[in-house]
Symmetry: C2
Subunit: 222 residues, 2 copies
């Protein structure tokens, strides 16, 4: 437990963080072995959670007719989204592939029970939103572990939550946090597709760092 991380181990951690991608275009239909999927879900379940409440649950969606219904939701929401752009921005938007719902062997819906009694409310009195945040930490663990298994993950947020809830029989008190497409890939792209296609650029990290107060905006770590 206490042995320090070797340089090689540390490099592997930074590698997975920097080479993780939101995958949409390069998925392969290859099945994911159950043992591999379980390792990924166990990595998700090792996330931090407020009060150790473990508010997350995982719906593994393999059924193609269910996924086809979810893809229809995406198409509807994406059409409405596309119509909010015009001109060159609309042309770029239309060129983007934003989901791999049916290109992958499985999808994963990660849900949160924000009112679970697990954890006895510890840490949730002043910031109840930390139940949701814990669930997102589980998603990021899953995503990174997947990359280390050479499996791609793409997060689809262009879905109406009430419609998604209806298709997946998710009860009212459970919140669908993330809908992920999960599969092996032909390649991991060197940079985010939204960057290479000119939708948005990465900003320098130094421009996001403040000292002691938000209003400081010094732009360096000292």
């Amino acid at each position: 437990m206490n042995a320090p991380f070797s340089e090689l181990e540390r490099d592997a951690v930074y590698r997975v963080i920097h080479e993780r991608r939101d995958v949409r275009s390069t998925f392969l239909p290859t099945e994911i072995p159950d043992a591999t999927l379980l390792r990924l879900l166990d990595a998700a379940h090792s996330a931090p959670s407020v009060g150790l409440m473990q508010p997350w649950e995982f719906i593994v969606v393999r059924d193609r007719s269910i996924r086809s219904n979810i893809r229809d939701l995406f198409l509807k929401a994406n059409q409405a989204a596309a119509e909010t752009y015009s001109g060159e921005k609309r042309a770029v938007y239309d060129s983007l592939k934003l989901e791999g719902i049916l290109d992958t062997p499985l999808n994963l819906c990660v849900t949160c029970n924000p009112d679970s009694s697990r954890g006895s409310g510890l840490g949730r009195r002043t910031m109840p939103e930390t139940a949701l945040y814990s669930t997102v930490c589980a998603v990021q663990n899953f995503w990174l572990a997947a990359r280390a298994e050479n499996i791609g993950v793409g997060w689809v947020s262009i879905l109406s939550p009430p419609d998604l809830r209806a298709i997946l029989d998710i009860p009212e008190h459970i919140i669908p946090v993330a809908y992920l497409c999960v599969g092996y890939v032909s390649e991991f792209l060197p940079s985010p597709e939204l960057e290479s296609k000119g939708w948005e650029q990465r900003v320098p990290v130094a421009s996001l760092i403040h000292q002691d107060r938000y209003s400081d905006a010094s732009g360096t770590t000292r």
Copy 2:
């Protein structure tokens, strides 16, 4: 980019995921070198974000008088929280150390600008909460990279967000998502303190897995 992760690299990724801890009791005051902190912030900045909006910002809080004011906030909120428990649960609660605000060389407040024009709204029409979720992915990246640098992180949620906002001069449209204590540690504990002190137990991951629909509850991956 496309070379598969070696077994050793993959093991390192799982190691960091499983050995990451929410640290409160074992912090050391040792300074964190600027270059190391920048690597951690760059890891956070490599998180996925909806539409590549990069909604996160980082306030590095070293000033002890500011941190002392934040610790006072914690003490106030923690007292109110403690009073919601009674009997044995209260005794366990009182035995927990839930922050390391002044035990560490620095704290980090990770904020989110949910209305940033960056990303041009892509992916936020149906699920605007993904701006916040992106910021939490950055927090988890920071936490894992820190563990690989043998640096501990503890997330303090027992703070009133309006009071925190006032102390750190955070404007109304910016959301403080996470307040982290960051420092080297004397040891990383083998299991979460909330588990070893009997506050809560981890549940088996299989009990959290559903097949195709939430209502299925089959409890296995097939």
